[in-house]
C-alpha cells in the first residue's frame, strides 16, 4: 500500500469514528440494549411474568416465520389501512376545508362532528355489522372511521389558524376566492393538515388490528390473535413488533410526502 492510500484509509476510519462510533450513537444503542436487558431481567426474576418469552425467544421465532404467510398478512393489513385512510382523506379533507373556510358549512356540520367525535372509534365495532354485510367492508369502514376525525379536525384547525396577514396581503394583490383557497389558505394550513394525516394513520393501524382480531379474516391482527390461541407467545410478540414497524413505516411515508410538498419548511 502506498503512503497516499494509507493516508486515505486512515482518513476514512477517522470519518467513521467521528460519524458512526461517537457517544451519541453509542448512547442510542445503549437505550435499546437497556430496554432488552430490563425485559430479560423482569422475566427471569419475577414469578409473575414467567410465561412471557424472553427477547432471545422472540429472535428465534423470527426464523420460524413462513415468509409467504406473513407477507400475505402484512399485505392484507396494509391494503385495509391504505383503503380506509384514502377514503378518510377523500371525505374528511374536503369536509375539513369546508368547515374551516365557510361559516355556513361550519354551522351546518361542526356541531354534528363535535357530537360524534368523542365516541372512541372502537365503540363503533358492534354497529358496523349493521352497516355492511361483507366483513372486508366492515374492517375498511372501521379504519376509515379512525382516520376521518383527525383529518377533519386538523384540516379545519389549520385553516382557521392561518395568519390573517397572509390572506389580507393576497386580497390586496387582487386574488379571487378560489385562488385564495388554493394559493394561500391551503399552503398555509399544509403543516397542520399533514400533522392530522400522521395522527390519522396511527389510529388507522389501531383500528385495523382491533377489527382483524375480532373478524378472523386474516391480516396482522388476526395473525397475532391466532398465535395467541395457539399459546405461541414468541410469535405474538413478533407480530406486535411487525405491526409497530408497519405503523412507523406509514408515518415515515407521510413525512416524506409532506417534506416533498413543504420544501420551504425545512430548508436552511
Amino acid at each position: 500500500m502506498s503512503t497516499s492510500e494509507l493516508n486515505k484509509s486512515f482518513h476514512f476510519w477517522k470519518q467513521v469514528r467521528r460519524k458512526v462510533v461517537n457517544w451519541t450513537t453509542l448512547r442510542r444503542i445503549m437505550s435499546i440494549v437497556l430496554f432488552l436487558m430490563a425485559w430479560s431481567i423482569l422475566v427471569q426474576f419475577t414469578g409473575h411474568f414467567q410465561q412471557i418469552p424472553k427477547p432471545l425467544a422472540v429472535f428465534h421465532a423470527l426464523f420460524q416465520l413462513e415468509p409467504g404467510v406473513i407477507f400475505t398478512e402484512i399485505l392484507r393489513s396494509f391494503l385495509r389501512v391504505l383503503g380506509g385512510f384514502l377514503i378518510g382523506l377523500l371525505i374528511g379533507f374536503p369536509l375539513g376545508v369546508a368547515i374551516g373556510y365557510s361559516r355556513i358549512a361550519n354551522y351546518l356540520f361542526f356541531p354534528a362532528v363535535e357530537m360524534v367525535r368523542p365516541i372512541p372509534p372502537i365503540a363503533w365495532i358492534p354497529l358496523t355489522v349493521l352497516f355492511f354485510i361483507e366483513i372486508e367492508s366492515q374492517i375498511v369502514f372501521l379504519t376509515f372511521y379512525g382516520a376521518f376525525f383527525p383529518i377533519v379536525y386538523n384540516t379545519m384547525g389549520g385553516i382557521s389558524e392561518v395568519d390573517i396577514r397572509l390572506p389580507r396581503a393576497a386580497m390586496s394583490f387582487g386574488i379571487n376566492r378560489m385562488g385564495m383557497l388554493w394559493k394561500i389558505i391551503l399552503p398555509a394550513a399544509m403543516p397542520q393538515i399533514f400533522t392530522g394525516m400522521k395522527v390519522a394513520i396511527g389510529i388507522t393501524w389501531l383500528m385495523v388490528v382491533a377489527a382483524e382480531m375480532i373478524a378472523s379474516k386474516g391480516g396482522l391482527g388476526y395473525w397475532v390473535w391466532h398465535h395467541h390461541t395457539l399459546m405461541e407467545y414468541p410469535m405474538v410478540i413478533l407480530g406486535m413488533g411487525i405491526i409497530g414497524l408497519c405503523g412507523a413505516l406509514c408515518s415515515l411515508g407521510i413525512d416524506a410526502v409532506g417534506n416533498h410538498f413543504m420544501k420551504w419548511r425545512n430548508i436552511f
Binding site: D163, R165, L166, R168, A169, A170, M171, S172, F173, G174, I175, N176, G179, K183, I184, P187, A188, M190, M262, K263, W264, R265, I267, F268
Partner: protein, 279 residues
C-alpha cells in the same frame, strides 16, 4: 408613470372609528381629517398606540369607518384593492413561495401584465433592492432586512397608485434600517406614486417625508401638518443640515406636548419619543 401624479389622493373626512369589545367601546380615531396628496410621500407620526395602523387599515379597505368618509380620488373605500398595497410591520411574505414567486404573485393574480413582462419587472426590481442573488430562496432563508426588501419589491411590481407602509422597518437594527430607508427613497423617487408611511421614529419620518402629519393621542386626529422642504433626491448628508435640525426640533416640540398628555393620561410615557427628546 406620469398619470399617477394626479391620482391617488387620500382624503379623511371627519373619520371616527371605535373598537368594540363585549363591554367597552374604545374610540381610536375621533373626527379625524387630513389629506394625503397624490404623488407625494406623506409620513404619519404620533405617539404609539394612537391608531396609526387603524388609519392604514382604513385606507387599505380592511376596516371601514364608523362615521365620516375615507375617499380616494373622491370615491369612498369599500374593500381592498391591488391599487392600494400595504407593507406590514412584520413580514407577510408567503413562506411557501420563493422570493421570486412572492414578487410574481401580484401580477399573476391580477393579470395586468403578461408573464414575460412580469418576469422582467420582477428581476429588475429584485436586483434594485439587492436581492438578485436570492431569487430562489424561501423567506425563511432571508434575513429580516432582506425579507422587508423582498416585500417592497412584491408591492412595487404592481405599480400601486397608493403604497401604504405600516412601520415597515420596525424591529430592524439601526444599520439595516438606514440602508432600508435609502433603498426605499430611491424606489419612491423613481416611482412617483402616492406613499403613506407610518412610523414612530422622528429621524426616519423627517428623512423620508414630503409632508409630515403629526397625530394626537387617542382618541386621535391630525394635530399638525408640516411641509418637509428638504431637497430631493435625498441623501444621508441631509441629516446634518441646519434645516433638518430645525424641522426636527419643531416636530419634537409638537410631539412632546402629546407625550406629556399621554403620560398624564395613562401613567406611562411614550418611550420612543421621550428617548428622542433627551438626545
Amino acid at each position: 408613470m406620469a398619470d399617477s401624479n394626479n391620482r391617488g389622493e387620500v382624503v379623511f373626512e371627519d373619520v371616527t372609528r371605535a373598537v368594540k369589545t363585549r363591554k367597552t367601546e374604545e374610540i381610536i380615531l375621533h373626527h379625524c381629517s387630513f389629506v394625503v396628496e397624490s404623488g407625494k410621500l406623506t409620513v404619519l407620526i404620533g405617539p404609539s398606540g394612537c391608531g396609526k395602523t387603524t388609519i392604514i387599515n382604513l385606507v387599505a379597505g380592511y376596516e371601514t369607518p364608523d362615521r365620516g368618509k375615507v375617499l380616494i380620488d373622491g370615491i369612498p373605500v369599500t374593500r381592498p384593492d391591488w391599487e392600494r398595497l400595504v407593507v406590514f410591520q412584520e413580514t407577510a411574505l408567503f413562506p411557501w413561495l420563493t422570493c421570486y414567486d412572492n414578487v410574481m404573485f401580484g401580477p399573476l393574480a391580477t393579470k395586468v401584465m403578461t408573464r414575460q413582462e412580469a418576469h422582467e419587472q420582477a428581476i429588475k426590481l429584485l436586483e434594485k433592492v439587492g436581492l438578485g442573488d436570492f431569487m430562489e430562496k424561501y423567506p425563511i432563508q432571508l434575513s429580516g432586512g432582506m425579507q422587508r426588501r423582498a416585500e417592497l419589491a412584491r408591492a412595487l411590481i404592481n405599480r400601486p397608485t397608493i403604497m401604504l407602509m405600516d412601520e415597515p422597518f420596525r424591529g430592524l437594527d439601526a444599520m439595516t434600517r438606514e440602508l432600508m430607508q435609502e433603498y426605499y427613497l430611491r424606489l419612491v423617487e423613481e416611482s412617483h406614486g402616492t406613499h403613506l408611511f407610518v412610523t414612530s421614529e422622528i429621524e426616519e419620518a423627517i428623512f423620508l417625508a414630503d409632508k409630515l402629519i403629526i397625530m394626537t393621542n387617542k382618541p386621535s386626529r391630525a394635530k399638525r401638518v408640516l411641509d418637509i422642504d428638504l431637497p430631493r433626491p435625498r441623501k444621508a448628508e441631509v441629516l446634518r443640515s441646519k434645516r433638518y435640525l430645525e424641522l426636527k426640533a419643531n416636530t419634537l416640540e409638537i410631539l412632546h406636548e402629546e407625550a406629556v398628555k399621554a403620560s398624564r393620561a395613562s401613567g406611562k410615557a411614550d418611550i420612543n419619543i421621550e428617548a428622542s427628546i433627551r438626545k
